[in-house]
């Protein structure tokens, strides 16, 4: 545990609004004693108390926090990140290759559709991206672009998002954020360790921030696009302000007298401490979520005052504010990329809403010295097919799903800068070089946090469960800085 942390803790103890009792103090110091605890490899089956205190990783980490911009629905890689000139040559002709797997046969065709968007090289690295995402082009030299994602054996959105987030397409498995907070705890004592920010609408199959079989303490706290952003954070109307402080002070007196009859009862102490944390969270989370405190320049950087970019901009700003305050894992869910019809207009709109805030997040983290220790992820659970889907209005075609080949990018947190990893075939249909499966992606993220995905296990029903399950996940060494 680093000394900054302890200092901030002491600071907190000195300034606590609830006049922390000696017992509360003892609890906190007791927690300090636990700080050095290693990753729980095999917790017992029967009741044990779990916590989110910082834990030592398996080895030296590169990332301390992650902000995942999960773009659900399937951003079209061949229109944004992965130029395929052959498509434009064959535009309107029948696809000459082999079988194409369609997830939606309605309106499916084998007619090749070129991309109307111009690609150009960006930055010193010269990564090619399309005119849809000029701001992302501006951070090309910060990112590792993976053009060879492939969800082996997984199709469709829900299973795909589960696979990217939990390692399998099945229900009930813990989210990546839950695993990481289980393994590493949190640097913040005043905020939840794992936060899921949802904009626009809940992705189908959500919540993707469930702790599954892990204890509920590792569940993501759902932060909404509008107020109330966190559940149960606001006091009931009639207790707002000092009335609730008075109520909690009374509660603490009841609990303390009760504890005095049961000296040494850890659970009772922990409950008192958890009320104190909840009260701190009310203040700290309210503060962390208050984006009005951001400067004009920052709001402008993200596009927070432009109606098109506002939603993601605010979410990104909140994510940065949370990470600054020690939150381990923030995931922004934006399920708005499923474009079976009218894709070319839809992409202009969607990229217009996402491009600037996403790039601004990377720039902002960098200027604050946080990018080295914060892993930023941008991508979804699939890309799209090189052929036309004519579902919907005639003349305004879309593209069907493609989980066999698509692009994502990462920045900061120990990944290479200005780097392209892997490739799809010349049609953008299959990942062919340096293929990265979802298990590899998850193992790599864990690795960046100093965790071995095969070792971070939770014992349940006598089985050591890991995020990889029975599958193999290889760390993609080629993208590590």
């Amino acid at each position: 545990m680093n000394s900054d942390f302890c200092q901030s803790r002491r600071h907190f103890i000195g300034s606590n609004a609830f006049n922390l009792s000696a017992i509360g103090l003892a609890t906190l110091l007791n927690e300090d004693g636990l700080l050095a605890a290693t990753v729980p490899e095999k917790p017992a089956l029967t009741p044990i108390v779990y916590d989110t205190l910082p834990k030592k990783p398996h080895f030296q980490p590169r990332a301390k926090a992650m902000i995942s911009l999960f773009m659900g629905g399937g951003p079209s890689h061949m229109d944004m990140f992965d130029p395929k000139p052959l498509l434009n040559k064959w535009d309107g002709k029948l696809f000459p290759g082999g079988e194409i797997k369609f997830d939606n046969t309605g309106g499916a065709t084998r007619t090749v559709m070129g991309s109307p968007f111009k690609f150009s090289k960006h930055g010193e690295s010269g990564i090619e991206m399309s005119e849809l995402i000029p701001h992302m082009g501006g951070i090309a030299d910060e990112m590792t672009l993976i053009r060879s994602m492939n969800l082996k054996g997984i199709r469709n959105h829900v299973a795909g998002m589960k696979a990217m987030d939990t390692g399998t397409g099945l229900n009930g498995k813990p989210a990546l954020g839950s695993w990481i907070t289980y393994g590493l705890g949190s640097e913040s004592r005043d905020l939840p360790a794992f936060v899921a920010l949802v904009i626009r609408k809940n992705p189908p199959g959500s919540p993707f921030w469930s702790s599954g079989l892990l204890p509920s303490i590792y569940q993501g706290t759902h932060v909404r696009e509008q107020e109330p952003r966190i559940m149960n954070l606001d006091p009931p109307e009639y207790l707002k302000g000092s009335a609730q402080d008075r109520q909690l002070a009374f509660l603490e007196r009841v609990n303390s007298r009760h504890l005095a009859q049961h000296p040494g009862e850890l659970d009772l102490q922990a409950r008192i401490a958890s009320y104190q944390l909840a009260a701190r969270m009310q203040t700290a989370a309210t503060d962390a979520l208050d984006i009005k405190k951001e400067s004009e320049a920052t709001r402008k950087l993200y596009g927070a005052d432009d109606d098109r970019t506002k939603a993601l901009a605010e979410a990104c700003i909140i994510a940065r504010r949370l990470v600054e305050r020690g939150v381990r894992f923030v995931q922004i869910w934006d399920y708005s990329w499923d474009m079976h019809e009218n894709i070319n207009e839809a992409l202009v709109k969607r990229c217009g809403a996402s491009d600037q805030p996403s790039a601004a997040l990377v720039k902002d983290l960098k200027s604050r010295g946080l990018l080295d220790s914060t892993l930023v992820f941008w991508g979804g659970e699939m890309g799209r097919l090189p052929v036309i889907q004519t579902r919907g209005k005639a003349g305004k075609p879309g593209r069907d799903h493609n989980t066999d080949g698509f692009s994502i990018w990462m920045a900061g947190g120990g990944v290479k800068q200005g780097h392209i990893h892997g490739a799809t075939d010349e049609w953008g249909l299959f990942a062919t070089e340096g293929v990265v499966h979802h298990h590899d992606y998850l193992a790599t993220v864990m690795h960046l946090f100093g965790l071995d995905a095969t070792k971070l296990a939770y014992k349940r029903n006598g089985r050591a469960e890991t995020i990889l399950g029975s599958a193999t996940g290889n760390v993609v060494n080629g993208i590590l800085a």
Partner: protein, 859 residues
């Protein structure tokens, strides 16, 4: 068998007292890390087999693996030490390496001559000697002094023996107020009312047997089955939805199994029967058979819902993998709930740590396979057993006749309206055409356009309002134009609607049961071992059976004898095998779990794992005595409660004592009672009980769940119901795997994947936020305040005392009382002046009490 036993007891000797041996010390390490590639399933990498010591001497391609007495020349040790072996990331622990080295140095001894050859899978005597696989013995109850014996029972004798050996003494009995609260929560999951507490305290001063009578009263309460039913539903993985994928299809009839469990426990159905009905209720009644099912038969079929609890994706997909997963998960539920072993680990290969062979997993699967037939799969809907009775059919026929009569009468009325409407409409055409028009209209009425002449057709096209049909809807349009008839017509329509609805309301509701049954078929489905667990790689055929390791204690092949059954009889034979009284695991596993629910910790702390990775029993003799007593007292759970709850051990105070704390901080030896947090459901139920809102309606379809405006899963629907169903006990709330109510999930209610053997207990800030700010708690606190005001009036001192009594079942101590009353006065002043400031202040006090430790923890 005697020989084995001798070895088993020698295992218990401290390590340093005996020489290291291959069987006892080295083999388990090699089994966990090396067998997989060197010996098992014909796999012999580098031509090396490490399953016997003499194979190690022999070695493989690179020469001998060990040289006795010469660790430095032993290749095995070298490879392990330099990290070469085992391949992969999971290396041996330093102490394991040291043990192997020590063993080689000491001459690489074995305990006995090794077998000539290994036939199939080899289970060593050490493995058979593991405590949980030995027969249940009934140890003598340790002697006690007469004085002690008067105060205590056999349970205490075993516990005291251990305490004395560790120089510990038991704690004094808890005070009556604590005892009654503990007993209420333990047996019925609800707090005692203030009157019940007062009465009990008085009674206990007068009569020494008052506590025993209290236990009897609680055991007879209908809420008992709701409380203990919940424990059983955890173990079986009860859910009202199929899970598996995002569809999470609902199980509309699963609740009948929940009700069966509650009723069975209330009736103290002996556990051997309880288990048999759940495993083979269909075979008990010779199902499938013709004719209507009797109530008792429906019960037995409902009981087999136990085998239908696993997540089941076959409701939404036809994939073979999904079907296979249902069987696999069911084997896991059966084995973890009844055998307390992690048999699921042997699905793909022999168990790494316990002597459970891969084929054992498939032998258990073979018990189920005639019912869960992989080759001829039924999706969940096709398995539903209809509850239609002859009475239903008869009643339906009679009611349908009534409906028909109503329609005939109604049609007559409509015809009359049709007639007078036509007459009225004819008024609107020139008088000279009326005769012609009427004739045309009547023809049209008979067969529409068919017999109309071209002139008539044209005429009706010109005067379409003459086309008056006798349908209610059409007539309504016509009648609306003739005022004098409107009211009469509307009244007739309404009456008809009501008549039909009244008959329909009497129609029998025909339910169905989520049962498991077999389609009688010969030959029976074949069960094969799936190589590496892959259902697309079937291997050798296996027959039904229990764990091979138990074969020296009882016959493990399941051989159905009853030829009169239409079905395979495998599950019935398996149930008899498990409940024969000779099975080493079943009764131990059950009583251990019961014990856990009384003490917060099992005698075996790993309730779901009695194997090498679990914990050994803290009181092995007590565990065996309880298991034996349980079986000999007719497998009665209520008898078990009497035995345990009347013990001095159970009645002890939970207060910590420093001198005992130093010796046994974790209270493994039970020198005091443990302080336990209430479970998620109990917190909610107790809250509702205290605020007076609890809806006691029992059984039947579950209360639904819904997402509220904040995307939080809540109980009931978004709006309050008229019948208060959202305030029923938590066991009656729909258990959708994908939609756990937030207020329960945050307090660790389990997600069933596939079942839950012991719950987590977390203490986290979101729980506190929920208790501070959630609309449920706030609303309940307001209700609580209203109750207190109605019972205690406006006086703050009386209010404080009454709220305290209701929440905690005891009078406040003087200081608590003063503090609470002062808080009320102060908070009232601080709130905006208004008629309800005092009530709000009281609600805030009530809320604090409902979120306080004295409420959330049982002492």
């Amino acid at each position: 068998m005697k020989l084995v036993f001798a070895i088993a007891s020698s295992v218990a000797l401290p390590l340093h007292a005996v020489e290291l041996s291959f069987e006892r010390d080295v083999r388990p390490i090699l089994k966990a890390h090396c067998f997989h590639c060197h010996g098992e399933e014909g796999e012999m990498k580098g031509d090396l087999d490490v399953r016997l010591k003499r194979f190690l001497d022999q070695g493989g391609e690179s020469g001998p693996a060990i040289v006795a007495g010469k660790p430095h020349e032993s290749l095995l040790l070298e490879q392990i030490k330099n990290g070469e072996m085992p391949k992969g990331d999971k290396k041996l622990k330093p102490e394991e390496v040291a043990k192997i080295e020590q063993w080689i140095t000491a001459g690489a001894k074995t305990l006995r001559p090794e077998p000539e050859k290994i036939e199939g899978h080899f289970i060593t005597e050490e493995e058979r000697g593991w405590w949980a696989f030995r027969p249940v013995r009934r140890p003598d109850v340790p002697a006690m002094t007469n004085d002690e014996a008067r105060m205590t029972n056999a349970v205490d004798a075993f516990v005291r023996q251990k305490l004395v050996a560790s120089k510990l003494t038991p704690s004094a009995e808890a005070d009556p107020a604590t005892l009654i609260r503990r007993a209420y929560f333990d047996l019925i999951g609800l707090p005692p009312t203030a009157q019940e507490v007062t009465a009990f305290i008085q009674e206990s001063h007068q009569s020494p047997s008052s506590y025993e009578r209290l236990i009897e009263r609680l055991l007879a309460r209908p809420e008992y089955g709701e409380r203990w039913g919940r424990h059983w539903l955890d173990v079986v993985g009860y859910a009202d939805s199929e899970g598996f994928d995002e569809n999470d299809t609902e199980r509309p009839s699963a609740w009948r199994y929940r009700d069966y469990v509650i009723r069975a426990l209330n009736a103290d159905l002996p556990f051997d029967r309880f288990i048999t009905e759940q495993l083979a209720g269909d075979e008990l009644i010779g199902y499938p058979k013709e004719g209507e099912l009797k109530a008792d038969e429906i019960d037995k079929l409902t009981a087999t819902g136990f085998l239908r609890m696993a997540p089941d994706g076959t409701a939404s997909t036809k994939e073979k993998a999904a079907q296979n997963a249902v069987i696999t998960e069911t084997v896991k539920i059966v084995s973890s709930s009844l055998l307390g072993m992690t048999v699921g680990c042997a699905e793909c290969h022999d168990h790494r740590f316990d002597p459970i062979l891969q084929k054992d997993f498939y032998r258990l699967r073979a018990v189920l396979e005639p019912g869960l037939n992989y080759a001829g799969w039924f999706d969940p809907k096709k398995r539903e057993v209809s509850l239609r009775t002859a009475w239903d059919t008869k009643k339906e026929t009679r009611l349908n006749a009534e409906l028909k009569a109503i329609e005939v009468e109604y049609q007559k009325k409509l015809n009359a309206y049709q007639e007078c409407t036509l007459n009225a409409e004819l008024e609107a055409i020139p008088e000279k055409d009326r005769e012609f028009g009427r004739a045309a209209a009547l023809k049209w009425r008979k067969d529409r356009d068919k017999s109309l002449t071209p002139e008539e057709k044209k005429f009706l096209a010109d005067f379409p309002f003459l086309k008056v049909s006798a349908s209610e809807q059409q007539l309504n349009l016509f009648v609306q134009r003739h005022d004098e008839k409107v009211k009469e017509f509307e009244a007739d329509v309404a009456k008809h609607k009501a008549d039909v609805a009244a008959v329909n309301a009497r129609m029998p509701k025909i339910g169905s049961v989520r049962a498991l049954s077999e389609v009688p078929a010969r030959p029976l489905p074949v069960t094969k071992v799936f190589l590496r667990g892959n259902h697309e790689s079937p291997g050798a055929e296996v027959g039904p059976g229990d764990l091979t390791v138990l074969s020296d204690v009882l016959a493990v092949d399941i051989a159905p004898k009853d030829k009169s059954l239409p079905t395979s009889g495998r599950r019935l034979a398996f149930a008899k095998h498990l409940t024969s009284g000779k099975h080493p695991l079943v009764a131990r596993v059950l009583v251990n779990r019961f014990w856990m629910h009384h003490f917060g910790r099992g005698l075996v702390n790993s309730a779901g794992d009695f194997g090498a990775q679990g914990e050994k029993p803290s009181h092995p003799e007590l565990l065996d005595w309880l298991a034996s007593e349980f079986m000999s007292s007719g497998w009665s759970l209520k008898q078990f409660h009497r035995l345990v709850m009347n013990s001095a051990t159970y009645k002890q105070s939970s207060l910590r004592r420093p001198e005992a704390e130093r010796l046994d901080a974790a209270n493994v030896l039970l020198w005091r009672m443990n302080v336990r947090r209430l479970e998620a459901e109990t917190i909610r139920d107790a809250t509702l009980a205290v605020t007076g809102r609890l809806n006691p309606q029992r059984f039947g379809e579950p209360v639904g769940v819904a997402e509220d405006a904040n995307a939080q899963v809540v109980i009931g629907s978004k709006e309050p119901s008229s019948d208060g169903r959202e305030f029923r006990r938590s066991i009656y709330v729909q258990q959708r795997r994908s939609a756990l109510p937030y207020q329960l999930a945050v307090f660790d209610s389990p997600q069933m994947e596939p079942n839950c053997e012991a719950r987590n207990i977390s203490t986290v800030a979101p729980q506190s936020l929920l208790l501070m700010n959630s609309s449920f708690v706030v609303e309940q606190s307001r209700a609580f305040a209203k109750r207190v005001m109605s019972e205690a009036g406006d006086d703050v001192s009386k209010q404080a005392a009454r709220a305290w009594e209701l929440a905690f079942g005891r009078q406040p101590a003087a200081q608590d009382h003063r503090d609470a009353a002062a808080y009320l006065t102060e908070q009232t002043k601080s709130l905006p002046a208004g008629s309800d400031a005092a009530e709000k202040a009281l609600a805030s006090l009530c809320q604090a009490l409902l979120g306080s430790n004295p409420f959330l923890y049982i002492e």
